[in-house]
Symmetry: C2
Subunit: 549 residues, 2 copies
């Protein structure tokens, strides 16, 4: 039996484009004499559709396009993910389903059992759990059809009070008792830099435990914060990966299921963490723009490393000709900052303008003079500079139809070392899930073949340049220390005592944690952040604002 794996980039709610793309790949599979072609989880509507699932006309569109796809499936079988109505009188009114379409007819609907409802996932908000486990018989083969999380009941969970199994049912136990020939898993498994390892481990464990081949079809492409990295694969019954599809690109593979156990294990090329993050961010920017129907971007270049790395990634994603950057110096900007920024723009071939913010800041200070009389300059005046820049960048964005790219990093977003309505502005945060220490590594990666980011930008001490001789280290611990504390608190959710036991001063740890907690209100108004870690700021991390902790 020949099976085609179609790893595609969908667009949420864009039924026409999605079904057109699906049908094109059905045709391609037919051309190659495939018996079955597999698309991924909720591929028809895009993932995650969020509250669009509550709109009746959204479900109507889904049903209409299922029919269109079924009609296009004469002479082949198709597996496609879509929401379907739960016809029972009780329970949530939708299932997250895999439809098995055979020769133009929906022959089987398999609903998802495990509905991830943690981190960025909200599936129980919309879907009822599946409780039936029927094998699909097709051309003499017995297929166990599963959806993403259905294979994840053994996943590792974080806390010491949550160390056991997350789910009370095991779909694979149910299927295994019915002697399937192979497992199909359709997925919407988003990228984080350790997720491809987790994913492979889960698939390997299932293949080995149940001694069964697994055909895994993920999707690719970014949907705002979430970046799907593809990496679909085929495993034999010994848990060896015998085929894999590309990362961060659409891909298509034809495989003969009867040959799976004859194939040898693939020698997977190492994929370094920083390279993965870079590739993810490029796709994240590219898809945000194309799916929002924008082409051009703006950002502010300070001469510092965050805006430099953002610009280099944006140039890769959108093309240098689609970028328009501003240098916005103040009296506190050092000469080298301006030079470094100009050098970078030249290296990338990006057009730039220099606008001094001095007159604007003076106008603000003058207007506030009476009100602020006899008061010492403080954070208020520093923020005026950052906000003046924010206004200028947004003026460019509004005038020319560019999206402003935010250049904040995860370390400063964590501790609130940023100005709301100033440098926090932007339609998309590119680096908001990348700690400062990793941004230095990204810069080195970008420069791996030639110097694109000026060496001085990488080596000089980081500074916000909002007052004379300011350095980040005036207000913050060194970034190695800060990032380690932050990672343990945010990603690993460790307590202050546990973090201190790693070798940090407890007062320092508590100071950092308190800064993180105190700045939830700022992050509440952050642009969407491209997610590359297992715990990004944004809708995967939901913290109360009015809490005392």
């Amino acid at each position: 039996m020949k099976i085609a794996l179609a790893q595609l980039n969908y667009h949420i709610a864009n039924f026409k484009a999605n079904s057109k793309k699906i049908i094109a790949h059905i045709d391609k599979a037919k051309d190659k004499n495939a018996d079955l072609v597999i698309f991924s989880e909720l591929g028809l509507c895009g993932y995650p559709p969020q509250d669009l699932l509550e709109q009746e006309d959204f479900i109507g569109e889904t049903e209409k396009h299922i029919e269109i796809i079924a009609k296009a499936s004469a002479g082949i079988a198709v597996i496609i993910g879509a929401p379907v109505i739960n016809k029972s009188k009780q329970g949530k009114k939708l299932f997250n389903a895999a439809l098995f379409i055979d020769n133009g007819k929906v022959a089987h609907i398999q609903a998802k059992t495990h509905l991830p409802t943690y981190d960025v996932f909200d599936e129980y908000r919309y879907f009822e759990h599946n409780t039936t486990f029927d094998i699909i018989e097709f051309k003499g083969k017995r297929i166990a059809l599963t959806i993403c999380e259905d294979l994840w009941d053994t996943q590792p969970v974080g806390n010491s009070f949550a160390k056991d199994k997350l789910y009370t049912v095991s779909p694979m136990e149910k299927y295994s008792a019915q002697n399937p020939d192979f497992v199909i898993n359709i997925a919407a498994s988003p990228f984080s830099y350790n997720q491809d390892d987790n994913r492979r481990n889960i698939l390997v464990n299932n293949a080995v435990e149940y001694a069964i081949p697994i055909i895994y079809v993920n999707q690719v492409g970014a949907q705002t914060e979430l970046i799907f990295d593809g990496g679909s694969m085929v495993l034999n019954k010994k848990g060896k990966v015998v085929k894999n599809l590309k990362h961060f690109e659409e891909d298509f593979l034809l495989i003969d299921v009867d040959e799976i156990d004859k194939l040898t294990e693939i020698n997977q090329a190492p994929y370094e963490r920083i390279a993965k993050i870079y590739d993810a961010l490029v796709l994240g920017i590219r898809d945000y723009f194309s799916k929002m129907n924008f082409r051009t971007a703006t950002l502010g270049l300070s001469g510092g490393i965050d805006s430099a790395v953002t610009l280099a990634i944006a140039a890769e994603a959108l093309g240098s000709e689609n970028l328009q950057v501003l240098l916005l110096p103040s009296k506190y900007s050092s000469d080298h900052s301006i030079k470094d920024a100009i050098d970078l723009a030249h290296n990338l071939g990006v057009k730039y303008e220099i606008i001094s913010i001095e007159k604007i800041v003076s106008a603000f200070d003058g207007s506030l003079g009476k009100l602020f009389e006899n008061l010492q300059p403080d954070i208020a005046e520093e923020n005026i500079q950052a906000r003046a820049r924010g206004v200028l960048l947004m003026a460019l964005s509004n005038k020319f139809g560019n999206i402003l790219l935010n250049t904040s990093n995860k370390s400063e977003a964590a501790v609130g070392y940023s100005t709301l309505y100033g440098d926090m502005n932007g339609g998309l945060s590119v680096l908001g899930d990348v700690y400062k220490t990793d941004i230095f590594k990204l810069a080195r990666y970008i420069n791996r073949d030639s110097e694109i980011i000026p060496e001085n930008t990488i080596t000089k001490p980081p500074s916000a340049e909002l007052r004379p001789d300011q350095k980040d280290s005036d207000s913050l611990p060194d970034y190695d220390t800060l990032d380690t504390i932050l990672f343990n608190y945010i990603e690993l959710k460790k307590s202050s005592a546990d973090i201190a036991s790693l070798g940090f001063d407890l007062d320092l740890v508590m100071k950092v944690i308190s800064m993180v907690n105190r700045n939830e209100y700022k992050r509440f108004q952050s642009p969407p952040i491209l997610r590359v870690s297992s715990k990004a700021f944004g809708f995967g991390r939901r913290m109360p604002l009015v809490a005392k902790y």
Copy 2:
């Protein structure tokens, strides 16, 4: 048997303050010779604790304070809501539980069965469903102990494809089979202007269907967006409300359960929708400030109705002496706008300053002159004005430690008739869940005894005053039409065709819906919005940004 109902205002994660308050009310109940005192759902930690539930030390604090409360409970029984660890090796690792503490010991733990996971609720993100239904025997009475949603399995759900029961189990059926004497329901049921009717109907239906008295203990107080309105009550077995507690205030009631069926139905005073919204917003502001440990607020007064109503509500919540407002006229501001704003400030006794934004706007325009050469003025220049105001207001906020109150209304938030980083600034949006047509009603309500908001502010045509003779009606349908379309789309989730069938032009309906959809990206960065409707913008409405619909 004498039972005390303690309807309290908790603070998320403030275990010390919460348990101190709980113990004070245990003592009060003892003084009154109560046999049992009831607190509300997750009262010990505050509701909703969100992802703090994933922090091990948060659970540790909970356990420590359960012990402290148990020790304080000698000689009385206590029911208190708290998260407790699920000791099973499978499933989510917490329960949302009601603890029955008898004479200093936790005698029974009843977990919640129905975990609301829709709108603003995310309970299945954290908690495992309960599956055991044991009656508590206490002093000769058989008590069915339930938690909030456990009684809501018959709740009405929204869509025509979702019209049946949301849940597959009925806790009350399970309990009823065991002949309880009465039901206790502890709740964290947030306010919306139709929620108290829904809530009473649900309780009445349960009391009638199972012919049993119900003691219902809600909480009060705001936690950022969510405002808990209290309104705890006691119903007899005929479903008549025989006692009720205050709305929007802490309250305490002692009742003899053996007397419930002898009490007569309470004659409930009518509570008008606009009065409820007003009271909710006052509490919403007051608690946001007190729980964030702030006292003073800033806002920009334009002479228009939104900022006027915001200021009047803030004055009630915080006291006029804690408000500092700015009038920020431009060359497009009309004389009457400035006069109306000054009159309002005088009426409320609020100190104000006038700062013209002219010089600042000129400085921006001058700096951008070269870049914008030969281009027509457009939204870019309009937004500069709004953003210049935003910067000045934030400067005041930063300098004096005030929270900036956002004054946007729900109609403009819906269609994006607002400037990101301009009039969208603020720590809290007071009116972001109130349609413009209701803001006029709030203004009349505020003026019910005397003219606080100048009549001219209420009667003049709404205008953003960002260009000469601008009126809202240049860009938007009249507000009666707009708000009706918006309500049907946002609250009722109707399709464009269904809305048009109410008597609107389909093109107009589609234009409005398209404006709503296109502006998700702006609302993504909105301040938290006090929720007063059944569907507020914010975390109860989750829409994808990169969607095409």
